[in-house]
């Protein structure tokens, strides 16, 4: 298995097959991230393709001291924000978006008995979580998807969003608490 940095170098030296290998490595993780952000398959495919085209055009500006995947997700994140801006969809600024009541949710621990979450079979729970994700604020959903679907470390997410690691952890925990709270509501 080639290292990302080697593949980038080979691409810059004219080996387009190396870039194809990078696409194959990141096409599904990128599609999963963008898909969960825009919730439309065709649109997600289009944006995923655009991420790779943009990254190819900007490859000479990539600095090997950073991880390639975080650089790629940064491009993807900016692309999603740009798309929302063009479409004039509100709540665009993922970093500055206000998370109404999120602090409240974070510290609120349900004491209801018995626990609703345990009533779901695992398959059913996954289905519910997938639907609930749409209701989670974009700023929290983005970090949650990176952590639990793309399996990035908190440090990698912090690098992408240029945020302190502690803030990233806090927001991912908030997202999960919000999911738990929304699970209590009727489907």
């Amino acid at each position: 298995m080639y290292e990302d940095k080697d593949l980038v170098e080979r691409t810059l030296n004219g080996d387009t097959e190396a870039f194809e290998l990078l696409i194959r490595k990141y096409e599904n993780p990128m599609f999963n991230y963008i898909g969960r952000m825009v919730r439309e398959r065709e649109l997600a495919l289009e944006l995923t393709q655009e991420v790779f085209l943009k990254s190819y055009a900007a490859l000479h500006s990539y600095q090997p001291k950073y991880k390639f995947n975080t650089w790629l997700y940064k491009i993807a994140s900016n692309l999603v924000i740009d798309y929302w801006r063009k479409k004039r969809i509100p709540a665009l600024s993922l970093d500055q978006q206000k998370i109404e009541g999120s602090q409240k949710v974070f510290f609120q621990i349900s004491s209801k008995e018995p626990s609703i979450i345990k009533k779901y079979e695992l398959a059913e729970l996954k289905e519910r979580v997938e639907k609930i994700l749409e209701k989670i604020p974009d700023s929290l959903r983005e970090l949650f998807v990176w952590r639990h679907i793309n399996e990035l470390s908190y440090e990698e997410i912090a690098e992408i969003k240029n945020m302190p690691v502690g803030t990233v952890k806090n927001r991912v925990f908030q997202a999960k608490e919000m999911i738990l709270q929304l699970l209590e509501e009727k489907p």
């Binding site: 691409t11 096409e27 510290f107 695992l122 729970l125 952890k169 925990f173 999911i179």
Partner: protein, 192 residues
């Protein structure tokens, strides 16, 4: 120990705590049903969120992207390779010319230079200076080629014709290889 915070629960479940913190939490949970419930709920949630179905791109996705890719600007290395390749090709062509005709190519270069020089003599001072510089470079190259040709002619007197043909063939092959490599570096993004 106090009851667990949500943050502690997640850090514990994601194995982000130190060994001592982990033991301390486990001891507390063993005797606190409220925290036990808190932990179990979130453990079950993590089980679900960590195994959500994966979205898959079509199998020809990477090929489609590669189709849309257009050549990008050549790197500095690409430009240098092209320059070196071009220069070497020029040198090889001159050598072949010398070997084939037995003539002195330096005379040709100097005549060419003199013709150009005569045409532009009346032009502006800047252009004259510029061509003066070129003339110096070309004179140096011609002198170099002259020495080279003299050397080659001397070698030719002692080398058999078969060996001469072999040397020419090697030069031609090397020249093609250099041009191909330079072109490959220059045209980043072209399908191969």
């Amino acid at each position: 120990m106090k009851c667990l915070s949500v943050e502690q629960v997640y850090l514990y479940l994601e194995k982000q705590l130190s060994a001592s913190e982990k033991i301390s939490i486990e001891n507390h949970v063993a005797s606190c049903s409220k925290c036990q419930k808190l932990l179990e709920e979130r453990e079950y949630l993590l089980l679900a969120v960590d195994s959500l179905p994966s979205w898959q791109v079509p199998s020809n996705f990477a090929q489609q992207v590669m189709h849309s890719i257009s050549p990008v600007k050549a790197t500095l290395w690409g430009w240098l390779s092209a320059l070196v390749g071009g220069f070497l090709t020029f040198v090889v062509t001159c050598m072949i010319y010398i070997l084939a005709t037995g003539q002195n190519v330096s005379t040709l270069l100097i005549n060419l230079l003199q013709t150009i020089w005569g045409q532009i003599k009346s032009s502006s001072l800047i252009i004259i200076k510029f061509f003066k510089l070129i003339s110096v470079i070309l004179t140096t190259i011609s002198q170099l080629l002259e020495s080279l040709s003299k050397g080659l002619l001397q070698i030719l007197t002692v080398i058999k014709p078969e060996v001469q043909i072999l040397i020419i063939a090697i030069f031609i092959l090397a020249s093609f290889f250099i041009i191909y490599e330079a072109r490959r570096k220059f045209l980043l993004g072209e399908k191969q």
